[in-house]
């Protein structure tokens, strides 16, 4: 991945609010990130931190109401996806941007055989005839490592194991040679040996097809193994963002530091007691006017309650949204 390459996907200041009876939930607050061709961006963060809503917002997949994508730009292929008409957006979605969501049973339609479900985007977005689509569907199943692909095209989703259904979902997402693949916790429901098969497959496909990937997971181990860069989300915001090795070796945001300490490993030193992050995740009922992590942060100081920290550029593609400078051990200059 050449460093100066233009991003394939550029998200700026994305803001999504849900209108609920109890008030507005500020699920995504000014999220910005860019994705370069062929790279894999890992997204981590606790449940409710806004990972899924970010991705669904940029794909226009959230029903409105209750969702209101209130601001920002999503530049893809020279267009702002937040402004294009529904037709254009549908053509991009499942075409040049493929996506896979968490639960394979809800994503595959149980009443159609797997072959028809892979052929659908091929006919819709690429205009293939039935015969060519069938041939391509078989190739795709082979590509994702499903043995005996030709015969399995006529099988229904329930005839596949969880890992295989997940691979079928990936095959569908890959059908139209996407430039970007968005995968939202695609391996969470899978066992480690099957997950390892899929991660291996992703590496292969990226180098083969040159596609860029956004990979959402709560598993830091997975991220360490496959990501080029990592974005950490907390309370609807990006709190830290860095190249993968830099993030693990040199985490700067107090939340990232705490998160890295809570997970046990199978190779390193075994801790006598697990570290925990005290306190509760934020209730995002107001537009943020303070640091969302302040109630749980062990280095918080007065400024953190008055202002929401911006993302400070720390050089070498690393930034963190925190008023505390972990390198000097004191407050950052204003």
């Amino acid at each position: 991945m050449p460093d100066g390459a233009l991003p394939v996907l550029d998200v700026r200041d994305l803001k999504t609010v849900f209108k609920t009876r109890a008030g507005e939930v500020h699920a995504v607050n000014d999220v910005s990130f860019a994705l370069k061709p062929g790279e894999l961006l890992g997204v981590v963060g606790e449940s409710g931190s806004g990972k899924s809503v970010t991705m669904m917002s940029l794909l226009g997949l959230l029903p409105s109401p209750p969702a209101d994508v209130r601001g920002g730009t999503v530049t893809f292929g020279g267009n702002d996806l937040l402004k294009v008409d529904a037709e254009t957006l549908r053509a991009v979605r499942g075409g040049k941007i493929g996506f896979v969501f968490q639960d394979p049973m809800t994503s595959l339609n149980p009443v159609f055989n797997v072959g028809m479900q892979i052929m659908e985007p091929l006919r819709k977005h690429m205009g293939l005839n039935k015969r060519d689509a069938a041939k391509r569907a078989q190739e795709l199943l082979e590509l994702v490592g499903i043995p005996d692909a030709e015969r399995r095209l006529t099988d229904y989703p329930h005839q596949f194991s969880g890992g295989m259904r997940q691979r079928v979902m990936i095959a569908i997402a890959l059908a139209c040679d996407p430039q970007v693949l968005i995968a939202d916790e695609p391996t969470t429901a899978l066992d480690v040996t099957i997950q390892a098969q899929i991660l291996e497959l992703m590496k292969e496909l990226r180098s083969k097809l040159g596609m860029a990937v956004i990979w959402i997971t709560h598993d830091l181990g997975v991220i360490a193994g496959i990501a080029d860069r990592v974005m950490v989300m907390y309370g609807g915001q990006v709190v830290e963002h860095a190249p993968v090795k830099e993030l693990f070796r040199n985490p700067q945001h107090p939340y990232t530091r705490a998160l890295l300490k809570t997970i046990p490993t199978i190779h390193g030193e075994r801790a006598a007691r697990l570290t925990i992050i005290e306190g509760q995740p934020p209730i995002m009922m107001n537009a943020p006017s303070a640091c969302p992590f302040r109630d749980r942060c062990d280095v918080a100081f007065d400024r953190c309650a008055r202002e929401n920290p911006p993302r400070y550029d720390l050089g070498d593609g690393h930034d963190a949204a925190c008023f505390f400078d972990a390198r000097t051990g004191g407050p950052r200059d204003a």
Partner: protein, 337 residues
């Protein structure tokens, strides 16, 4: 408990436990086969220890845990808990044993009755098994809530008003109500966020120390099991393929399946990640209604030999304290044929 030397006494002994579920089909619902969910497992759980039970989805972990507590009428085998054989005890006679052995479930949401208050949920086993007065019960519920770190003020609330981690605490408080000795924890943290998982695991460890509990800890999270378990048993397709003390198992897994399983665990430290050699297994786990001949792992084993496809390897102690079922550890080669 662990350092008092009391722990070489098994509290739980399981021998050749089988739990087969019948499969019925056709108009007459004829029995056409069986799912061999647990197919002959043997292990001990020592007093005060945590035995980790790991393996992939569908390998029989939950069935094994439930069978040990006799939540099923088992197909065959022997189960001794606290010196009492309960393998064949009829359900109505198990009632008096129930307080000794309890279970904590994976999904805190589904395992709590949504129409009962937290107090009623924790109190229910006291209603069923004790003759305590209402005041005594209320006090006991309060103590249990303290023990698991739930504010007593929440007693009148309903489960939906709690987070996943808090709901799991409610389930744990309920399991503790009757002062059990042995608790089967079936994936107690799988449904929780990483940061909450650590809280629940720390709580389980504290309670173990405080009340001298013995755990069977079922999980597919090998890193967490390394943290919490004293010894670890690895299951594959209804059988235990390896059982060993924690450090030995993680440092030098003997069975090829354990080796593949451990190598597949993603490593969050990139400086270690580069050194991990992955064994990528091919194919899927065979169906437990139609397991392969010979060794259950022979369809995916990178070290498979001819004998593996015909003879089932015997599960036995191959080194002190280390059990495995694999032909690679046959002492001599005369077992073939």
């Amino acid at each position: 408990m662990l350092d008092t030397g009391e722990n070489d006494q098994p509290l739980v002994s399981v021998r050749d436990l089988k739990m087969h579920f019948p499969i019925y089909a056709g108009l007459l619902r004829r029995r056409v086969g069986e799912v061999k969910a647990v197919d002959g497992v043997s292990f001990d759980v020592m007093e005060g220890e945590t035995l980790g039970l790991v393996g992939e989805s569908g390998c029989g972990k939950s069935t094994c845990g439930r069978a040990v507590l006799r939540l099923y009428d088992i197909t065959s085998g022997s189960i001794t808990i606290d010196s009492r054989e309960i393998g064949e005890t009829p359900q109505n006679q198990l009632r008096e044993m129930r307080p000794t052995m309890q279970m904590v479930f994976q999904d805190p949401q589904a395992s709590l009755n949504p129409r009962m208050t937290v107090e009623a949920i924790i109190k229910e086993p006291l209603d069923e098994h004790t003759s305590m007065s209402d005041a005594e019960k209320r006090e006991k519920v309060g103590e249990l809530m303290d023990a698991v770190g739930l504010n007593r003020k929440f007693a009148k609330r309903y489960p939906h008003a709690f987070s996943g981690g808090q709901r799991q605490r409610i389930g744990i408080a309920r399991a503790l109500a009757l002062n059990p000795k042995f608790i089967v924890c079936d994936e107690p943290i799988a449904a929780l966020d990483v940061s909450i998982q650590a809280q629940v695991v720390n709580l389980l460890e504290d309670l173990q120390e405080q009340f001298g509990l013995t755990y069977l800890f079922i999980s597919h999270d090998l890193s967490m099991v390394r943290h919490i378990a004293t010894r670890v048993a690895v299951m594959y397709l209804g059988k235990i393929v390896e059982l060993a003390p924690r450090e030995a198992l993680y440092a030098e897994p003997l069975h090829p399946y354990t080796q593949a399983l451990l190598s597949a665990v993603p490593e969050p430290d990139p400086s270690l990640e580069d050194k991990v050699e992955r064994i990528i297994l091919q194919g899927d786990v065979p169906s437990p209604s139609n397991p392969p001949q010979g060794c259950n792992f022979c369809t995916r084993c990178p070290a498979v030999m001819d004998i593996c496809k015909t003879d089932e390897p015997v599960y036995r102690e191959v080194r002190p304290g280390r059990y495995t079922a694999c032909h690679l550890y046959n002492d001599n080669n005369d077992t073939a044929g």
